[in-house]
Symmetry: C2
Subunit: 562 residues, 2 copies
Amino acid sequence: MTTILNEHDNYHQAEEAYGFPLIIKQLLNRAKIASTNQTISYADKVTYTYAEFFKRINRLANVLKNMGLQAGDVVAVMDWDSHRYLEAYFAVPMSGMILQTVNVRLSEEKVLYTVNHAAPKALLLNAEFAPMIKDYRDDAPSIEHVMWADDAEDDKVGGEKAELPDYVDGEYEALLAAASDEFDFLDFDENTIATTFYTSGTTGDPKGVFFTHRQIVLQTMASTLASALNAEGQGARYNDVYMPMTPLFHVHAWCWPYGATMIGLKQVYPGRYLAPKLVDLIEQHKVTLSHGVPAILQMLLKEMAERGRKFENLKLLLGGSKLNEGLAKAAIECGIEFMSGFGMSESCPVLSRAVFDDKTESMTLEDNLNYRCLSGSPIMLVSMEIWDENGKPQPMDGKSTGELVIRAPWLTQSYFKNPDAGNELWKGGWMHTQDIACMTADGTLSITDRLKDVIKSGGEWVSSLEVETILSFHPSVADIAVIGVPDERWGERPLALIVLKPDHVDTKMEDILALGHQAVERGHLPKYGVPSEVRFLPDMPKTSVGKLDKKRMRSMYSENLI
Amino acid sequence: MTTILNEHDNYHQAEEAYGFPLIIKQLLNRAKIASTNQTISYADKVTYTYAEFFKRINRLANVLKNMGLQAGDVVAVMDWDSHRYLEAYFAVPMSGMILQTVNVRLSEEKVLYTVNHAAPKALLLNAEFAPMIKDYRDDAPSIEHVMWADDAEDDKVGGEKAELPDYVDGEYEALLAAASDEFDFLDFDENTIATTFYTSGTTGDPKGVFFTHRQIVLQTMASTLASALNAEGQGARYNDVYMPMTPLFHVHAWCWPYGATMIGLKQVYPGRYLAPKLVDLIEQHKVTLSHGVPAILQMLLKEMAERGRKFENLKLLLGGSKLNEGLAKAAIECGIEFMSGFGMSESCPVLSRAVFDDKTESMTLEDNLNYRCLSGSPIMLVSMEIWDENGKPQPMDGKSTGELVIRAPWLTQSYFKNPDAGNELWKGGWMHTQDIACMTADGTLSITDRLKDVIKSGGEWVSSLEVETILSFHPSVADIAVIGVPDERWGERPLALIVLKPDHVDTKMEDILALGHQAVERGHLPKYGVPSEVRFLPDMPKTSVGKLDKKRMRSMYSENLI
């Protein structure tokens, strides 16, 4: 497939030389030889070997083929994290089709929007999500085939199968059982689109991103490599047991299902994320490698506190939103070795990852905690710059901030059916993250704000993340967000929105702000960074993937709802 | 640069989207941000930071440009492992030129052959190798420019510079100093040829292999990943100190100079491989990560035995030829954590690498030693099959043997100016290694022989490697080779050639063969596998890269020279 383009005629390709396209099929090469007896589990429901997994990929490909689907067709999945989802991760793109991973945490309205925008021809549907698409023929007319999965059916009285809805082709297991377990996956161009999904952005309609086979293979290689190079006890290893705690609909679960399969790890898929079940599975399967957003970490810590136990050898890759030092400290105390990082939907996603080496090992606890709350340094092949408003790169001095722009081999090349937004994303030949960041001289990245969440007080920028981190140290604070609100004198002023811990509801605003004043005295925060006001909320407004929803907070504020 | 080829028009590329070619330049992205203060040393002569290294790459690129060289031109290097060589590893291919790494251990005649075959326009020449090319204008007419390096010059009396030969453009450091330290490396097609070198094969003229930027980037990623995933104490890490002990002219030193730079490791280049110097550098710089062939390991062990010390935290990637268990045991006892593997000139080179996980950790010492002498399992993306004479894949049962054939993203696509040999190499769409191998059910590869070294006794195959391993356990054996020699009755019979340890010269043939008979009794060796005869040699005939030269042994035998 590769053509060698040198002008020298002599660097030719032998007649039958295999050019090796970087397609998802190739991620299975090592596992097919070295890991046939390794196991994959779906919660407490299913356990099978990789040998069986490879056959099931073939069966699923035959099911899709028998439905008349063709290369380029979109196949959507609406399911919790299951073995089925993993099978679709491989069988769909390996068939030349495009896998749409539907974010089932969005509102029904938005789910329908994304399904109709990507226009899948087939859908793998967990019965629990069936109500979201109401009437298929009217609401999602592109869908011609539905594969039905109902984990609950065995629990029904008498063990009888529930009747399938009439629009359904068949039950997933029955469809697989009826298909051949042999399939010859052909090679094709590595720049073929493999996956698509939608950003859960808080502004406007969700935007579709898309990734090629090549991009996914390269992200998988680089991201696993960056994690594996970490010092003893802190990196990915051949003897890890893997379980995702970032949903498989969310940016390919950071490509770790691909990575874990490529390496040939023992894998566990947890279904719906319920804290007791996650912790049970971690303990039962001795899970050592996972990933998630800080909200998941918080959930695990709470569950473990109730059990009065600690985790053993659990390595957790963190990302999605910035960690605060209070949570970091609690995680370490609970036996979790975590590695922060940075990525986004548009970047497949991983761009940076914390590095653990001699330097980090010799840090004081305070420095170590501080380091762990930063976003690590660029992983292999990633190029990053910090640009000011005019696109001028800023120095790496640990304080100069600007927009983080990136180049990497795995960035969405546009937005689906939205060329204007795509061109905006890539203005100047670098991908704009819309994140405000600074970098230290040794390349450690610190995200200080979202471009649109930046607070400008008296002409000076205030980093809401910085203020959040400082105030999060108050023992009464369960969750915190700092937003900019209009101010006659200063243009904008920071406002802190705080959820108090259940037994600390009497805490006063002044007590919490005292931490801010203290930080000013120590030179950690400019004076104008201390919020003028604190408002206490019962719950924190968050997006479907657990990020602070500051857009909603600002609109709630303007409507006097908080 | 990437074109997205899906039929759906909507998966377009934004106007200014950066397609990210996999070119060697990109291997510097992470280091340029995260490792500017890390150091690179050349033996005890030079130490500088990566920041300086990047500038020197720019300077070298300017030197080449100022000489009038253009993309596609070949630049040869004849040097020991030095900072200069590392600079050429990057600056030459990053300029779109082709780096020829000349094997200076070949005979003068063969060196000249390879230089004239690749036809470089410029040569970076260590003064020590100047005699090999005698008269440049007549003997190597393609060479228009010579950069001269003479490490010895400072040692001259009075510190005066030695006069440069008249055919030389200038001294390397002077040329660099006179050039600008700014250079804008442009992007180009990732399938551009980056490197070329010659196999040191024992049959016929050396054959030229060649590798593209893409191939080197992918080999670098996959090979570092396979090493990094190993269990605690046994894998590549961010806090390693790297020093090559496979020469930089030998298959890109297994791409580790690229890998170490990509990761941003502290690096040490040892110059010529002299055992006392290698050990001094390992101890002085606390080197933790290196690679080499078993002959290098033997050299290190001998030197360390003389010093009466052990190594600390030294991880050694092994390859090139098969390890015997005696050497493996000695290495572990001397504090070396080693990982065997398999690769070849045609494969960039790494294809398989030992895996250390829970299974290996729970092995008995004997099983562990045995495992370490095998060749590991395929690294990521590599596909392997064992073919019988008719191209039929053999089962992975730990005993069925046949020729090992491979597919990987980094295999030479032919031989330079030798399409017939290239077509033979790629017959049937898989690359033929000419190695006889078998694989266990868990994918562990065991090379049992070279196709052309196979011994056929009474119609049955004898694995010379197996016999060598068994007899190597005799305490008197320093080095051993088993070859097939003509036999009237059996067609061929194995003959053992043995170098005895200095204080064991009185050992009898029968004592050594007793180990073979014992192996027969235990079912480890067929009866016809025990050599009929042993001949004792003062030295073992080896190739320029330290492999057993069985072709020469067979011809010496037929001429009654042994």
